[in-house]
């Protein structure tokens, strides 16, 4: 099996995410054993943000890293694990609420495709970029 | 008509001069105060001037019948002024005023006729002759009673004040200014001229009771003013209170207190006219005289700072704050009356203190505080509108700083008018009418 980064590369839907991870310097972390649960926004999610948002973040890696870390939980959790708890602590520090079990919704996003297992964790594909708060 | 004793004899002395001046001034300013777009403007001015005519005639008369004539003449235009312009209940107010005024006129006529006809020195209505009037023993009481009724209704004092609060509060601003500023002084002048001047000994006998009446009237006016929710009614009761004070001064009839009485006549005339003028200005702009409906008028951006400032000044003057006319008058009155009637004087002093209460309460609500932006949709007063209030205020201040303006006119006249009183214990024993000749022997008319 591939690790999270390789899986994402292979899917072809996460070029913006991967660039962001690269710029934020988190590639190494996401290639490490982990394990992690990652909520991965598709490219359309980034495109849906108002113009300039991504550009500003990309120019400021620490800030970008903060947003990205909000999408990662330490430990590998599948969908059934996740729905057992109302919220989970992200790597950034803020809580990620599980909004709905059926259909699977995390914070204000819908999970397009859950439980994509990788070497070092599980990836859930989401349709929006999550922001803390 | 010499057969009737009616001579057209006019003259000025120290008593009437300031009053004539006051009449002229207040009439002028009340005309200035009226709105230029007044629909029946010519009628208003005509009636105001007619009232002025009557009043001036009354003050200038040197013949008692002429005085009565002028007194009655004043009644008609003032009633019409009340009835045609003013608040919602002006018809009631006018009728009441007319009724009380009619009674007052009848009583006055009867009293004056009695004075002239029963005069043992000869039939005459001229003041000079009546100054040495000598009346048969039994008649003095009821003549004094009639005169007191007549003039007490006019001033007014308790318990003859029934018409006053309604009339003053329903009158439109120019009319209120004239009524409170001048017409009420007719009563005081009458008392001075007739009761003190011509029937001095009887007055001296009745004075203790009248002093108490004055005190009660002052306290009643002040206490009621504190309770009012409408600015016009508050000023009306305030006026009543000040009239009580005037009554005290006239009852004491010492040289100093009579000077104070004249000062109070002038000062109160100015101050009450000023208050009504300002309340009128506020009503024209804001549309209400309800105290609860107003707040924060001193606001420099959207309020009426100039008008409210003058209002504060007028209220302070009414309360007797030194530096303004009210203080001069009150001070002299108290000094003049205290030795003679200490308790009533103290009572009136208390009433003066209470005037500060309602003045502060009123201004605290109306002037200070937060202006309600939703209601603050009016424009500033123009300089033209401010002229009456401004001139009255300046006079009030000047009179306060230069008391001679109030006291100087009438020094001689009041000195000659003053009575020396026997000590109270003698008076108590001397009250029955049969003792009048003895009282006359005891007293000296200086």
């Amino acid at each position: 099996m591939a690790n999270i980064i390789e899986t994402a590369k292979g899917a072809g839907l996460f070029s913006t995410l991967l660039t962001a991870v690269e710029v934020a310097g988190l590639t190494g972390a996401l290639e490490s054993p982990g394990p992690f649960t990652v909520f991965a926004p598709v490219d359309d999610a980034f495109a849906a943000l108002p113009p300039g948002t991504v550009q500003t973040l990309v120019q400021n890696p620490p800030q970008l890293a903060r947003i990205l870390k909000f999408h990662v939980i330490s430990g590998a959790y599948s969908r059934s694990d996740l729905v057992d708890q109302p919220s989970w602590e992200s790597l950034e520090g803020a809580m990620i609420p599980i909004r709905c079990a059926e259909p699977f919704e995390v914070k204000n996003t819908s999970v397009l495709s859950a439980d994509i297992v990788c070497d070092n964790g599980i990836v859930h594909v989401i349709n929006r970029v999550m922001l803390p708060g | 008509m010499p057969q009737l004793g009616l001579e057209f004899h006019l003259g000025l002395d120290g008593l009437s001069l300031p009053l004539v001046g006051l009449t002229a001034l207040i009439t002028l300013l009340s005309v200035a105060e009226s709105s230029p777009e007044e629909p029946r403007g010519r009628l208003l001015y005509g009636l105001l001037l007619a009232a002025d005519f009557g009043l001036t005639g009354a003050f200038l008369a040197r013949n008692a019948l002429l005085f009565v004539l002028a007194f009655e003449i004043t009644l008609i235009p003032t009633t019409l002024l009340l009835a045609i312009w003013g608040g919602e209940r002006r018809a009631t107010a006018a009728i009441r005023y007319l009724m009380y005024g009619a009674v007052s006129g009848v009583a006055l006529l009867a009293g004056v006729l009695a004075l002239g006809l029963l005069n043992t020195n000869g039939f005459s209505f001229a003041y000079d002759d009546l100054a040495q009037v000598s009346l048969p023993p039994g008649s003095q009481r009821w003549i004094m009673g009639l005169l007191l009724l007549a003039f007490g209704l006019k001033m007014p004092v308790l318990p003859l004040h029934g018409w006053q609060p309604l009339a003053y509060s329903q009158a439109s601003t120019p009319v209120a200014m004239q009524l409170s500023g001048v017409v009420s002084k007719l009563g005081a002048y009458g008392l001075l001229r007739f009761a003190v001047g011509m029937m001095g000994d009887t007055w001296a006998a009745w004075a203790p009771a009248i002093a108490v009446l004055g005190m009660v009237s002052a306290l009643y006016g002040a206490l009621n003013a504190i309770a009012q929710t409408d600015m016009r009614r508050l000023v009306a009761y305030s006026s009543l209170g000040h009239m009580g004070l005037l009554m005290l001064a006239i009852s004491a009839a010492s040289p100093l207190s009579l000077q104070g009485a004249m000062a109070q006549i002038l000062a109160h005339g100015l101050i009450t006219s000023l208050l009504f003028c300002l309340v009128g200005m506020i009503e024209t702009r804001t549309g209400t005289t309800e105290i609860a409906g107003l707040s924060g008028l001193l606001n420099p951006c959207r309020g009426l700072p100039f008008t409210s400032g003058l209002f504060l000044l007028a209220l302070m003057a009414s309360a007797g704050v030194p530096g303004q006319a009210g203080f001069v008058a009150e001070m002299v009155i108290y000094q003049g009356s205290f030795t003679l009637y200490p308790i009533p004087t103290l009572g009136c002093l208390l009433a003066s203190g209470l005037t500060a209460v309602y003045a502060v309460r009123l201004f605290n609500r109306v002037g200070f505080g937060r202006l309600d932006n939703a209601l603050a949709d009016y424009s500033r007063t123009s300089w033209q509108e401010r002229v009456p209030a401004l001139s009255l205020s300046m006079l009030v201040i000047v009179a306060g700083l230069w008391p001679n303006l109030l006291l100087g006119w009438s020094e001689g006249a009041t000195a000659s008018l003053a009575l020396t009183h026997p000590s109270p214990s003698v008076l108590v024993a001397a009250l029955p009418s049969a003792a009048v000749p003895q009282a006359a022997a005891l007293l000296e008319l200086s």
Partner: protein
């Protein structure tokens, strides 16, 4: 984000006291009704606000970075030419994200005012002593509000209590007072005192960086309006929302220059963002909470006239009784006087036609400012909704219900009688 009506009708009507406003928000609008006059008023006042704001941010950064711990900062309101020329990161040719099409340095109207003021061309010091200048005291009052209310979200405040910050501050303090035994001795005796001052200065920097963004946003809005580019109040609000997102990731930091050397008290690498650490706390502190202004009214704290919970404070611009009491030194009055100098002509004309014209122009423009801040708050609310909740045209009714709950909870804060939300709905509130 377009203005929609169809999805909003998917839900039954709201039962909130401000149902009309909630439904307007759900349709993509602002708390302020969409009328041409509203649009004219708010854009005009944004421009009048942006010019002094240009001065504020430059001087705030000057104070935070240069003046720093000067014990007698008599000239802190005289930013150096370097700071007046300092290029705004969002305007000018060098900007990476150019929000305003204008030049990078200080706005020309600002420079003209600084030179001439109201009384004419005089040396700067005389202008300052005559108080014919931009009222920086307003900016400092905003900073004080943010400092005092502290815990309003974001990581900024907690960081100021952390060990890392203390060490950074310590280095900077020691470097600043090198060779000054008196101040260093004072620092040894009372370490917390100077540390507190540095915390204050960090908030100063925070505010300066916040306003550095807002000024070009407002300038651009004014230019777009002059070209006729806004179709209404919602369009203006959308511009703000996009602006908020575009700059959300801007770093918030505090660096100090001591004798040419740069000390990073709050480094950029801490990851503080403009949105979370500057904008949201600012809105909460200055728009909603603030504090009662001294010298205007007496409050009896024992009788509960001032709320015991800081979160209950309601003295911000959204609740303000805009009547200037006339006392100098009240922050909103200071701002109003600043804005008075830079009003666009169409706004001055409007004011001369209403109420008392020139006599109460300050009150009128204050009320306009309040309207405009309701619009900015609407933009923040919509931006938060976009960031944390669902799009307005979301097909799922559950999502729409979540949106509505969010809007209604925001509107709950305006139910109290002091809130002016009801008043700004009407035209005659001037």
């Amino acid at each position: 984000m377009t203005v929609l009506t169809s999805s909003a009708k998917a839900l039954p009507p709201s039962t909130h006291p401000f149902a009309e406003v909630v439904e307007r928000l759900e349709a993509g609008g602002s708390m302020l009704p969409d009328t041409p006059e509203n649009l004219m008023q708010i854009i005009g006042i944004y421009k009048a606000y942006a010019v002094p704001m240009d001065f504020y941010w430059r001087d705030l950064l000057y104070i935070a970075e240069q003046v720093f711990l000067n014990p007698l900062p008599a000239f802190k309101y005289f930013p150096s030419q370097e700071y007046l020329d300092r290029p705004n990161s969002y305007q000018g040719d060098q900007a990476e994200l150019r929000i305003w099409r204008g030049e990078a340095g200080a706005h020309p109207e600002l420079l003209e005012f600084m030179e001439k003021g109201e009384i004419g061309k005089l040396p700067k010091l005389l202008h300052h002593l005559w108080h014919d200048r931009i009222n920086m005291e307003f900016a400092e009052a905003c900073m004080d509000a943010m400092l005092w209310h502290q815990g309003m979200g974001g990581r900024f405040n907690d960081y100021l209590d952390s060990e890392v910050y203390r060490q950074n501050a310590d280095k900077a303090i020691k470097a600043y007072f090198k060779g000054n035994p008196l101040m260093l001795g004072l620092y040894k005796l009372f370490p917390e005192m100077l540390l507190e001052q540095v915390k204050k200065l960090s908030y100063v920097a925070n505010l300066g960086l916040f306003w550095e963004v807002m000024a070009p946003v407002f300038f651009e809005m004014s230019d777009i309006y002059d070209e006729g580019g806004f179709s209404g109040v919602p369009a203006a609000m959308d511009f703000l929302v996009n602006g908020i997102f575009a700059v959300a990731g801007r770093p918030i930091y505090h660096q100090v220059f001591i004798r040419g050397e740069c000390f990073e008290i709050i480094p950029k690498s801490e990851g503080f963002t403009w949105l979370y650490e500057a904008a949201l706390p600012y809105v909460e502190a200055v728009f909603y909470r603030t504090a009662p202004f001294r010298g205007t009214k007496s409050y009896n704290a024992q009788a509960g006239q001032v709320p015991s919970e800081q979160s209950e404070f309601h003295y911000g611009i959204l609740y303000a009784d805009v009547f200037p009491v006339g006392s100098a030194g009240i922050p909103p009055t200071l701002l109003m006087q600043d804005m008075l100098h830079f009003l666009p002509p169409y706004l001055t004309e409007l004011y001369l036609q209403h109420k008392r014209g020139e006599d109460d122009i300050l009150v009128q423009l204050g009320i306009t400012f309040q309207r405009s801040m309701y619009n900015v708050t609407s933009a923040v609310i919509q931006a938060l909704r976009a960031a944390l909740l669902f799009p307005l045209d979301d097909p799922d009714p559950e999502h729409l219900k979540a949106n509505r709950a969010f809007f209604e909870s925001q509107m709950d804060r305006f139910i109290r009688p002091e809130a002016r939300l009801r008043d700004v709905q009407t035209e005659h509130y001037r």
